[in-house]
Amino acid sequence: MTEITENELRSQVREYLKANWDPNRGLAEWREMLAESGWGMPHWPKDWLGRGLPLGMTAIVDEEFNKFGAVGAAKMGIRVLAAATILEHGTDLQKEKYLKGIMTGTETWCQLFSEPGSGSDLAGAATRADFKDGKWIINGQKVWTTSAHHADYALLLARTDWDAVKHKGLSYFILDMHQPGVQVHQLKQMNGHASFNQVFMTDAVVEANMQVGELGEGWKIATTTLMHERRGADSARRYESGTDRPERIYEEERQEIATVMAPYTWYPQRTGRVDLLVERAKAMGVWDDPDIRQDIAKTLTIAKSAEWTARRARAASQAGKPQGPEGSIGKLAASIVARSANLTHTKIAGPNAMLTGDEDEAGGVVAEILVSTPAISIAGGTDEIQRNIISERILKMPKENRTDTDRPFRDVPRNQVG
């Protein structure tokens, strides 16, 4: 990899876009061109549809694309995790087969890690992968899968060795979702949305060459996937709105965004929507109620403090300083904020907190807040798990004595799932 200066890079991107960008092209066609040129995923290796650019420089490429109004490669959803995992652990065959579909957006991915029987304990996965007649036969049940109902492939964590200890008996697979052994059901939540799926695998088949990494190394690989997920959480799940320009490629991009984002329309509400408190209080005529003012101010205090704490963490990491504790408490703080906001919105809405849908004065938004905030303290690691992490990793307090990691997994007590 030869060094390249920022200016050189900028002019290269501009040159390429000047020569090739045309908003009236189809999205797929354009992304084929990006794959060929390496400008879609410039930090991918040169041999694999990229340009071998350091990760830190991709922001510069993105900037130039933005200035041009040029659409980039497909980057939303699980696909980026799939690509990162395959690039790091996959075989050439796997790279050959999947990377292009990932970046052009023509193929969609989902992640089959969580199971109904193990909850926060991801390594407790009990989905079986048995090797029979040269193929892996998969049986088990996964849950909390986003977009499984329109995914083409899945990153799958399954148990291949029941005599090994918990974390050593798992292996990592790429599962073709389009086969009779795979059944996808939507999982409706208490707020009426269905953002997740349950996936049932009954003698589903994975070809031998679609196993990723070493046998028994599944947990390790899954950990890197999860690390990418946490790192990318901000960008992958941010509320991309696209652009409203009229040309064909923008229209196609808007549709793509809408599909990926569909499960997330209620996500802003699960945060408690602190941003609406003052506005709603004024609209409901209770802005002068001293008790409600206290509730609003209390909620705002923790919300703003949490926001500033996150920005302190970001500033520290941007300055290259070692990250202090302030970086680890955001998830937990979000739960507290959401809970407080829920109660405050309830008091502001008064009797109308009993209503929902079009009866709700804020067009259903307040009602959706009231039944969505419980998700924030569960999804992506419960509050309890967060507190474990904070106390053990940040405060260096002793780990809980484990009784599930020192014996063959088949001897570890676990839930029976129907």
């Binding site: 969580s114 109904p116 193990s118 909850g119 926060s120 304990d121 407790g124 849950v143 909390w144 918990k166 999982l187 409706k188 939540q189 208490m190 009426g192 409901m284 005529g285 008790d291 409600i292 509730d295 809970r339 109660l343 309830t346 008091k347 809405a349 008064g350 009797p351 109308n352 907190a353 009993m354 209503l355 929902t356 849908g357 079009d358 009866e359 709700d360 004065e361 009602a367 009231l370 039944v371 419980p374 998700a375 303290s377 569960i378 999804a379 419960t382 509050d383 309890e384 507190r387 809980e400 484990r402 009784t403 599930d404 990691t405 570890v412 007590p413 676990r414 839930n415």
Partner: protein
């Protein structure tokens, strides 16, 4: 009996709990809550005819059992526990109580027997818009029309308003004080529209009146009859809420006791244990207040109003706190529609503000606080 129940009361509770376990499992709750009517008329008939539940606090001379509010509250607690879909709260606790508190002897003898037998289903129309239940939020005025009155305007948040045959409407008399008025729900000047309720197990509606003929309940000339109605309803609601909270607490405990994580029972984690202990504390404290409040009304305590408001404020906080904990203890599964926790969560949420939220009831409490409470 502020601190204990009689043997008869214990037996009544046991029988009712058994009955509701059989008749109102959550499969049935889910079925009823999806329907417009929102309850099973067959079950209602059985409740009224076999168990005489609608007659509890209606005076004997009006066809009732003549029991006290403590007994009514036991029924509400068990219904809250079972999340029974029924017009009980709207008709018996709100509408019948209003007539009991505001009606003349003749009026009571005329209207209440229908409530006691369950044939009449009533609803109390009090709230206007987003105004809430407080007396000073009610401004609809009743126009004098010959010997009778006429009502015009719209009431909202009417519990069981769609299914009621008889409406009790709270409105201002020409002298400015609140009166309660009887209206025939089938009168063609009355129009009703269901409201989309967060808690589908308790149906709400708006009811509009356009020069609707109305009969004033005449026993009381002040706001007091309405305030007493609120007191009784608040005490019953507090009991209903602690019933629901206890059920949530028990179910969550059962769930964590059954489930394994990291190779051990979730119930063996110290934070789970301590949370369960805190939940017990929350529910037991709220329960004690609810029991005390209902008995304080029966005992005619001068500070009953303050105590009742305390009970509702306590129940508001305890119920939603318990519901939040219960979802959390279930983890992801607790946030799904198929798990039953959210059914009570939504009841908790709606109950939080029903008849006034915790802030408002705390203020009501202090305004009516006895020196020796």
């Amino acid at each position: 009996m502020k601190f204990s129940f009689s043997e008869e009361q214990d037996e009544f509770r046991t029988a009712l709990r058994r009955f509701l376990q059989a008749k109102s499992p959550t499969t049935e709750v889910r079925k009823q809550m999806q329907m417009d009517q929102g309850y099973d008329p067959g079950l209602w008939r059985q409740m009224c005819e076999e168990l005489a539940l609608a007659s509890l606090h209606i005076p004997e001379e009006c066809g009732g059992a003549g029991f006290g509010i403590a007994d009514l509250a036991i029924a509400c607690e068990e219904m809250g526990r079972a999340l029974l879909c029924s017009p009980y709260f709207g008709s018996v606790v709100l509408a019948a109580t209003a007539i009991r508190e505001a009606g003349s002897d003749d009026q009571k003898r005329h209207f209440l027997p229908g409530f006691a037998s369950g044939e009449t289903i009533g609803a109390l129309c009090a709230v206007e818009g987003r105004g809430g239940w407080a007396a000073d939020s009610i401004s609809m005025s009743a126009e004098k029309s010959g010997d009778a009155f006429q009502l015009t305007g719209t009431k909202s948040h009417v519990v069981d308003g769609m299914t009621a045959s008889l409406l009790v409407v709270v409105a201002r008399k020409p002298d400015g004080a609140l009166g309660m008025f009887i209206v025939d729900a089938s009168d063609n000047t009355v129009s009703r529209k269901p409201q989309n309720s967060m808690d589908p197990t308790r149906k709400l509606s708006t009811v509009s009146f356009a020069k609707t003929p109305a009969v004033l309940l005449t026993a009381d000339n002040s706001n007091e009859a309405y305030e007493r109605t609120l007191d009784i309803a608040l005490a019953c609601l507090a009991s209903e809420m602690v019933g629901g909270a206890e059920r949530l607490r028990e179910d969550a405990l059962e769930y964590v006791s059954m489930r394994m994580q990291f190779g051990r029972s979730i119930a063996s984690f110290q934070v789970t244990k301590h949370k369960a202990a805190d939940m017990l504390l929350d529910v037991e404290l709220a329960k004690s207040a609810a029991y005390y409040a209902a008995a304080a009304i029966d005992d005619g305590d001068t500070d009953a109003r303050g105590v009742v408001a305390l009970a509702k404020a306590g129940a508001s906080d305890a119920y939603i706190q318990t519901a939040v904990h219960a979802v959390q203890m279930h983890g992801g599964i607790g946030f799904t529609y198929d798990n039953d926790t959210h059914l009570w969560f939504k009841r908790a949420k709606a109950s939080e503000v029903f008849l006034g939220d915790a802030n408002q009831n705390r203020e009501r409490m202090l305004q009516n606080w006895g020196d020796n409470s």
